[in-house]
């Protein structure tokens, strides 16, 4: 075995290139090309951008004019604030509500607990595009149309089911004995929860929080339907509706907006990849 391994070494290396390295390089190229294209476009001047004689894959004279235009001449800075506000508020709201509901469903026995747990799981499977029209009715009946409150209250509808289910799993993985001994020592349920269970479930809370923030930041259809004033739009809606004027596409500005709108989630993601992946796969792997 040992001898044969050393003998075929060059061939093994070659086959490793063919079955691993080249496919991985190819996969990365396809995955990352649109982002490369965003960056390259946003760094070009209009003159360079629309000159068909240039090689489009490189920038000849990098310039920040597209970013300057985006930040000075459009409402983009306002959209950043709006998106940030909505994402933070709806994430915080969902995190608190999901932690309470998750603890209740993971640890307590009462009539209907199982049925309610299933009902919450089913709401997780209802896509926003099934509900956006009647929700428009609900939002306008509550006089929330054209306010950021509409999004802050509606985003938890897809965050809470996910958060609750994920936290149920986390809470269940914490040994019951820790909590029971606190209860025996006279702590109330709420104290046991806030001082023992929640600190131990911190990785889970972080996962849910990051995931929720990203989902809120990226949400599109509710924001598109509920908000109509240009000043209160979120980034995804603002960029796609306000930066495209009539039939004219200002590609430099659009790509600068797409890039700046993507960077915050990409940064958060790069810091918390492990939490993100565990959030993403929690449902799939644990069931």
């Amino acid at each position: 075995m040992q001898a044969s391994l050393t003998q075929v070494k060059p061939r093994a290396l070659a086959s490793r290139f063919i079955i691993t390295y080249i496919p991985i390089a190819l996969m990365l190229a396809v995955t990352l090309f649109p982002f490369y294209w965003m960056v390259i476009t946003s760094l070009k001047t209009d003159g360079e951008l629309y000159n068909l004689k240039n090689n489009p894959l490189v920038v000849l004279q990098p310039a920040l004019i597209q970013f300057q235009r985006l930040l000075n001449d459009t409402l983009f800075p306002r959209w950043i604030t709006n998106t940030l506000l909505v994402s933070i508020a709806s994430t915080a709201l969902s995190l608190v509500f999901s932690a309470l509901a998750g603890y209740s469903l993971a640890r307590m026995r009462y009539r209907g607990a199982t049925a309610i747990g299933w009902a919450i799981f089913i709401t997780y499977l209802v896509p926003p595009t099934l509900l956006f029209l009647p929700l428009l009715g609900v939002v306008s009946a509550l006089h929330l149309q054209n306010t950021l409150w509409s999004l802050i209250l509606v985003y938890p509808t897809f965050l809470i089911p996910f958060g609750t289910w994920m936290l149920i799993g986390y809470f269940k993985s914490i040994p019951r004995e820790l909590e029971e001994s606190a209860l025996v020592d006279g702590a109330t349920r709420m104290q046991a929860m806030t001082r023992i269970i929640l600190p131990l479930a911190l990785p889970g809370l972080l996962s849910v929080g990051i995931f929720s923030f990203t989902l809120s930041w990226n949400e599109f259809i509710y924001a598109l339907v509920f908000l109509s004033d240009a000043t209160i739009k979120t980034i995804p809606v603002g960029v796609t509706s306000e930066l495209i004027r009539g039939d004219s596409f200002f590609w430099g500005e659009l790509m600068a907006g797409a890039l700046l709108g993507s960077i915050p989630v990409a940064i958060i993601y790069s810091f918390f990849v492990e939490y993100f992946v565990s959030g993403l796969t929690a449902g799939a792997v644990k069931g």
């Binding site: 894959l57 307590m108 896509p127 020592d185 799939a284």
Partner: protein
């Protein structure tokens, strides 16, 4: 056996507790309330309350309300009259709606198969050891992380009729004339039989969906693969199984659970997709690329036929219900 830090927490808790609880003989109102709320059948509901109320107002009620308005001729800002199933029957005679249904099925079936296959390849690749593994694993998930409409805008620019960089690459490196992505028709023929008859706009939206969705499959399947014990593979190697056999006999069967869940979530989101079509084609050219959600939006919002639009959305519901039912059934059978 208790872990030391938790023992300290518990001691701290119990000390505080004995300090704050007065040794009252007669239970005060406060004490009685505390005792009442401490019961699981009370506190359980109280903790569940906020989440449940929010979901009832913004999911439960809208769902029923949506079912109701689909039975009316309501418009935006105009209450309608009850017209029974007329919206639903009208839609069956609407050629655009029929095209929408066909598109939705084509889009969901084709992209799901491709995403599963490519996702499996991605997971198998990432499950090996190679330099910069952590970086690569993080990078491939990016299409799934960033806002879909923003990355789709980059694709819209890549599909541009004049400046398409994809066609530039095809032309310069393969001497191949690319299509006008967002308007050309496609009719692949073998002799007189047409093999594939669709449009490049449909193919374009499917490409973007596959680009965006494959990482979700890949990373989930990878997480599933990492839970498979190594001993199984070692035993199989001893028994002389080659890697092909090991994949079909060990990896795939043990991934069935993960695959079911991933398919469930992905099929729902793909069938109900909105953003990619909205940005790339708005359902055009000539309403040929609509999916349920974009057609519902177009009918209800720009055309202000709220009842009819709600009916378009409601047509998704039975399909989704069937998908959910069969997935949950197969998961339950396994358990």
């Amino acid at each position: 056996m208790r872990a030391r830090p938790s023992t300290i927490i518990i001691m701290a808790l119990s000390q505080e507790q004995s300090a704050t609880l007065p040794l009252a003989v007669k239970p005060t109102l406060r004490a009685r309330f505390d005792e009442w709320i401490e019961q699981e059948r009370v506190l359980g509901y109280v903790l569940l309350g906020p989440a449940l109320i929010l979901l009832l107002i913004f999911v439960g009620y809208p769902f029923l309300f949506g079912a109701y308005i689909s039975l009316t001729n309501a418009g935006i800002g105009r209450a309608g009259q009850f017209i029974g199933l007329q919206n639903f029957t009208d839609l069956l005679d609407d050629p655009i709606f029929r095209q929408t249904v066909a598109n939705s099925f084509l889009y969901t079936i084709v992209t799901t198969i491709v995403k599963l296959a490519l996702g499996m390849v991605m997971a198998l690749l990432l499950n090996q050891t190679f330099p910069l593994k952590r970086f690569v694993r993080a990078a491939v998930l990016l299409p799934w992380i960033v806002p879909t409409v923003l990355s789709t805008l980059a694709w819209l620019w890549m599909f541009d009729s004049t400046y398409s960089v994809i066609n530039w690459l095809l032309q310069n490196y393969f001497h191949f004339q690319g299509p006008i992505w967002l308007s050309d028709r496609l009719n692949l023929k073998l002799g007189d039989i047409s093999l594939v008859k669709t449009t490049w706009p449909m193919i374009s939206i499917m490409i973007v969906n596959i680009w965006r969705g494959t990482p979700f499959y890949g990373i989930s399947l990878l997480a599933g693969m990492q839970t498979i014990p190594h001993e199984l593979y070692e035993a199989a190697i001893v028994d002389g199984a080659n890697s092909w056999h090991r994949f079909w006999r060990i990896t795939l069967p043990l991934l069935r659970h993960v695959i079911s869940i991933v398919l469930l979530l992905s099929i729902i989101l793909t069938l109900a997709d909105f953003q990619i079509v909205y940005v790339l084609t708005r359902g055009g050219p000539a309403n040929s690329t609509h999916l349920f959600a974009t057609y519902a939006f177009q009918v209800a919002v720009p055309s202000t036929e709220l009842g009819l639009g709600a009916a378009v959305s409601m047509y998704m519901f039975p399909i989704l219900a069937v998908v959910v039912f069969f997935t949950l059934l197969s998961l339950r059978r396994e358990d």
